[in-house]
């Protein structure tokens, strides 16, 4: 029996992500597996020592895209519940910037769905991070999300 997506939990937060609460949210008696992804702030980028990161989002669109990802994950994999939280603002080294928990009756679907969710989030959710170093700050290189084709102006092979 599939659980409706309304039982998913999709959050943007400005303080520490309560990872235990997300795991509790997806855990039900029907599940045999919970897979989590904890994305955390690394202490260096391309060999430069990172001091901290600052995340910003187009919040209304980011929440909409995160909900779309949860819906896609339900459509693609036999899972139970999804919880996704992304933190915004200043994050210190080692802190969790994004956390995903997926529950499923069987582990394979939970692993696949969790991987799909983080890969898709990184490609299509409008969130940006600025990296602060000892000698300055830069916006991190990112990925350009896929966009509906321009019909008249140009064509791009995908």
């Amino acid at each position: 029996m599939s659980i409706p997506p309304s039982d998913d939990l999709i959050l943007l937060v400005r303080n520490v992500i309560d990872t235990d609460a997300l795991i509790r949210h997806v855990r039900t008696g029907a599940d045999g597996a919970i897979v989590t992804f904890d994305g955390c702030v690394r202490n260096q980028s391309h060999g430069r020592r990172t001091l901290y990161l600052d995340y910003e989002a187009y919040e209304s669109m980011a929440l909409a895209k995160m909900r779309e990802i949860a819906a896609e994950v339900h459509a693609k994999f036999p899972i139970d519940r999804v919880a996704v939280a992304h933190r915004l603002g200043r994050l210190e080294i080692g802190e969790t910037s994004v956390f995903i928990a997926v529950s499923a009756p069987h582990r394979a679907a939970a692993f696949d769905a969790c991987r799909y969710a983080i890969d898709t989030l990184k490609r299509s959710v409008p969130i940006w991070k600025k990296e602060y170093f000892e000698d300055g700050a830069v916006w991190a290189d990112g990925e350009l999300p896929p966009v509906p084709q321009d019909t008249q102006i140009r064509k791009r092979a995908s």
């Binding site: 995340y55 910003e56 999300p145």
Partner: protein
Amino acid sequence: MSSVTSSIQVRVLFFGRLKEVAGGAEEFVELTPGSRIEELFATFVARRPELARYRSSLVASRNQEFAAWSTPLQPGDEIAFLPPVSGG
């Protein structure tokens, strides 16, 4: 036909490095009816020529959905210009 509208207003948002280059995060812009996202961006390039070099490395959205450059604008649209995303 009702009254003739000589312009439409849209809300424009910039994020990430584009916010810094554009000189602000939010602006309301008046355009002629039938204008497309491409033309809206061109009005900002006219004021801030350095924006032109970001044209090939940004995407636009209309009302929180990714949108092609050829998308026509409607009154009250919320248009955002988004640099490559780097969440996670």
